[in-house]
C-alpha cells in the first residue's frame, strides 16, 4: 500500500471516529430530553435541572405555569420546553392513571382539573390546536378518544374547529365503546367512555344496561351514570326509572343522578345549574307529588330539588310536613330541606310547645334549626329540651348530646365532659367524647 493510500485510509478512519463521537453525543442529549419528558409526565417540571435557593415569600412565576422565572432567586442550568404534542402526551398519560381500577367521578374530576391546570391547557392555543388535530385523527381506541374528549372538556375547547372535532370524535368514540361493551377486559373503559361522552344516546344506553344488569354487575354502571353531566339525559333516566318495577334499581339510578347534580351545583356555574333545573323539574315534581307511591324516590327527589332550588324544595317540604301520616324518613328529609329557610325557627317553636309532638319530632326540629341564630329565650328552651333528651339511653339521647355540643354553651359542654368521663352508659360516653371533640376543634367552632 502506498503512502498516499495509507494517508487516505487514516483520514477516513479519523473522519469515521469523529462522526461516531458526534452521533453518540447527540443520542446522549436526546436521552436526557426523554428523561425530562418522563419527569414532566409525573408533575409540573419542564426544566431539565433546577437548583433552588431560599425562596422569598412572594415568588413570581411565568404564565406557562411550570417555567420558573429566571429572575429572583431561581438558577437554571438548562431548560427544555415541551412541544404541544409532548404536553398533550404528558396530559394523556396522567389521565390514563386517573382511569385506573379505583376510578370514581370525583377522583377523575380532581385529576382532570389538576392536569389541565398544571399544563395550562385552558390558555394554551398551540396545545388546543394539537388537541383538535388529535380529535380529528382516525382512531378506534375507545379509551384514547375518551381521554382526549375529557381533556377537551377540561380545556374548554371551543371555536368552529373545536366543535367539529368534538362531533366527529364523539361519533368514533361511541362506535368504539359500543364495540367494546362485550369484550370483557374493555367493558369498563367502554362504560366510562359512554359516561364521558354523556349525550342522550350514550346515557340512554347506560340506563338500559343498568336496568337490565344483574346485581353483581351494577357498580361500574352506577359509577358511570353518576359521572353524567347532561341534564336532558339525566331527566330521561329519571323519568324512565319511574316505570321500573324494581324500586331498588330505580333508587340506584336516582342516587347516581343526585351525585351528578351535587357535583354540578358545587361547581358554581349558575348557567349550567339553571339548565339542569329546567331539564329535571318535570321528573322531580312528579316524583315528589307521588310521595305515597314511591317514598324512597320522593325522598331523593326532594334532596335533588333542594340542590337545584332550595326555595322550591322548602315549599314542597312544608306541604309534606302538613301531612300527619308522613313517614319518619320523609319527615327527616323535609326537615333537612327546611334548613336555612326563614320559617325554621317558627316551626321549631311550634314543635317545642306542641303536646302532640313526640321526642323524635322535637329532635328533628331542633336539628333542622341547629345552624340558625336563635333568640336567647328560644335557645334556652332548646337547651333545656336537649338536656332532657340527653338523659335517654338510646340513639335519640346520643343525638341530643351532639346537638348540645353544637350549641357550644359552656354549661352544656361541662355536662358533656362529665358524661364522657363518668357516664354509666358506654355508648353515651363515646357519643359525648365524640361530640366534645368536634365542638372543641378549631375547624368546627368557627362554622357554627
Amino acid at each position: 500500500m502506498s503512502r498516499l493510500h495509507r494517508s487516505a485510509l487514516l483520514a477516513l478512519v479519523l473522519l469515521l471516529a469523529v462522526s461516531l463521537w458526534l452521533l453518540a453525543r447527540q443520542q446522549t442529549n436526546a436521552g436526557a430530553a426523554a428523561e425530562e419528558i418522563s419527569l414532566a409526565d409525573g408533575g409540573s417540571a419542564r426544566t431539565l435541572t433546577e437548583s433552588r435557593a431560599a425562596a422569598p415569600l412572594v415568588l413570581p412565576v411565568s404564565e406557562s405555569e411550570s417555567e420558573r422565572s429566571s429572575e429572583g432567586t431561581i438558577e437554571e442550568s438548562a431548560r427544555i420546553v415541551l412541544t404541544p404534542a409532548q404536553t398533550l402526551a404528558a396530559c394523556l398519560a396522567e389521565l390514563e392513571r386517573a382511569f385506573d381500577a379505583n376510578y370514581t367521578p370525583r377522583a377523575f374530576d380532581a385529576q382532570l382539573a389538576s392536569v389541565v391546570a398544571r399544563h395550562g391547557l385552558a390558555r394554551d392555543a398551540a396545545v388546543q390546536a394539537e388537541l383538535c388535530a388529535r380529535l380529528e385523527a382516525p382512531a378506534t381506541d375507545t379509551a384514547g378518544v375518551v381521554r382526549l374528549l375529557a381533556l377537551a372538556r377540561g380545556a374548554q375547547l371551543s371555536g368552529a374547529r373545536g366543535a367539529l372535532a368534538l362531533v366527529s370524535a364523539r361519533q368514533r368514540a361511541w362506535s368504539a365503546a359500543e364495540g367494546a361493551l362485550d369484550r370483557g377486559a374493555q367493558r369498563q373503559e367502554a362504560l366510562r367512555g359512554l359516561a364521558a361522552l354523556g349525550g342522550i344516546k350514550e346515557v340512554t344506553r347506560l340506563y338500559q344496561l343498568l336496568a337490565e344488569a344483574p346485581e353483581a354487575d351494577e357498580a361500574p354502571l352506577r359509577t358511570a351514570l353518576a359521572s353524567v353531566r347532561d341534564g336532558s339525559a339525566l331527566a330521561q333516566c329519571l323519568e324512565r326509572s319511574l316505570q321500573l318495577g324494581e324500586q331498588r334499581k330505580a333508587l340506584l339510578i336516582w342516587g347516581a343522578a343526585e351525585e351528578s347534580v351535587a357535583r354540578e351545583t358545587a361547581s358554581g356555574d349558575a348557567t349550567r345549574v339553571r339548565a339542569l333545573q329546567a331539564r329535571l323539574r318535570g321528573a322531580l315534581t312528579q316524583t315528589m307529588e307521588q310521595r305515597q307511591r314511591v317514598p324512597v324516590l320522593a325522598e331523593r327527589a326532594l334532596a335533588i330539588s333542594h340542590l337545584l332550588d332550595p326555595q322550591q324544595a322548602r315549599e314542597q317540604a312544608r306541604r309534606w310536613l302538613g301531612d300527619a301520616e308522613l313517614s319518619p324518613e320523609l319527615r327527616r328529609q323535609a326537615q333537612d330541606a327546611l334548613k336555612g329557610g326563614s320559617d325554621v325557627l317558627e316551626r321549631l317553636e311550634q314543635a317545642l310547645v306542641d303536646p302532640q309532638a313526640g321526642d323524635e319530632a322535637r329532635l328533628l326540629a331542633i336539628e333542622g334549626a341547629m345552624h340558625q341564630r336563635m333568640p336567647p329565650a328560644l335557645r334556652a328552651t332548646v337547651r333545656a329540651s336537649l338536656r332532657d333528651l340527653s338523659q335517654q339511653s338510646g340513639a335519640q339521647g346520643r343525638r341530643a348530646l351532639h346537638a348540645l355540643a353544637t350549641l357550644q354553651d359552656p354549661a352544656d359542654l361541662e355536662l358533656l365532659r362529665s358524661i364522657a368521663r363518668d357516664g354509666t352508659d358506654p355508648l353515651a360516653r363515646a357519643a359525648a367524647r365524640n361530640a366534645l371533640n368536634r365542638a372543641e376543634s378549631e375547624w368546627k367552632r368557627e362554622d357554627l
Binding site: S66, A107, A117, A219, E258, A303, N434, S441
Partner: protein, 290 residues
Amino acid sequence: MSRTPFLGLICIFAALAGCGKNSGSTGGGSTAVPGELALLITDAPFPHDAIASAHISIDRISIDRGLEQGDTTRIVLHDGAPLGFELTSLRNGAIGEVLRTPVPSGDYFRLFLNFSSVELALEDGRVFRSSDGSLQVPELGPEGFVVPLDTVLRVPEGDWARLLLDIDLTRSFQPLDGAFEDATAFSFQPVIYAVMPGQSAEVRGVVARRDSQGGMHPVDRATIFFLPIGVKDLDQAVASTASDADGGYCQLGLPPGAYRVFAIKGTRQTWLETARISAGNYAAVDLTFD
C-alpha cells in the same frame, strides 16, 4: 372483597385569620390587608389490622390564584424544615395544627404541596420508604403537587377562611408489584380533594353490638364506609374510617349529600342511610350489629 387495606382519608386544615396589618398589593385585584394562615391536620382513618404507621413530610407549601385568574404569583407559606405528619395518630376528628403564617388577603384557587419523604410501615414488619426507593414518590417539580381547589379559598380582610384537604389514601398508596399482601414496593401518587369547612358534610356516631340480653356494647376497629345511596359495593365508597376503642367514629370533609353508612367488623355488617346532609352540617348515625 377486593378492596385494598388503605381505606379513607386524611385531612389537612388550613385556617386564615386577619391580622389587620397593611402590606403591598399582591395583584389579581386583591386587597392589601394580610391575614394569617394556620395549617392543621386530622383524621387519618385506616383499618388498623394492617397498618402500623404512615408518615409523610412536607417541606414546601404554597398557594396561588391560578391560571384562570391570570395571576400565578406564588405565595410561599412554608419552605424549609420538613413538617411531619403521622397519619395513623390523627383519627376521627382529632386535629393537629401544622403551621400559622401571614398571607395576603384575597382569593386563592390552587395549593401546592411538596412531599419530601413518605414512609409506610405495616403490621407484619414491612416498611416502605421513599428514602430507599421502596416507596416511590413521583418527581413533581420544584413546587410539588398541585391541588386545585373546588371552590375559591377566600381570605377576607381581618377574617377567617379555612381549607380542608382530603388525601385519599385508597388511591394515593398503590402496591407496585401485585397485591397489597405480597407487595415489595409501593408508589405514592397523591389524590387530594380540597374542600371548605362550611361547604362539606360530616357524619359521626357510635358502632355497637347488641348482646343476647339486649345490652349494647361499643365495637372498636370496625371499618365504616360512606357509600352513595343505593350502592352496596364497598369499592364505590366515597370515604371510610374506623371506630375508636369506645366505638365512636367521625368522618369529616364529605361532599354534601345522602349516604349509606355501612359498618363491617369481621363477618358482621350493618348499615343505615342518612337524609341529605347539607353543606356545613352533620348527621349523627349510630350503627348496631345484632
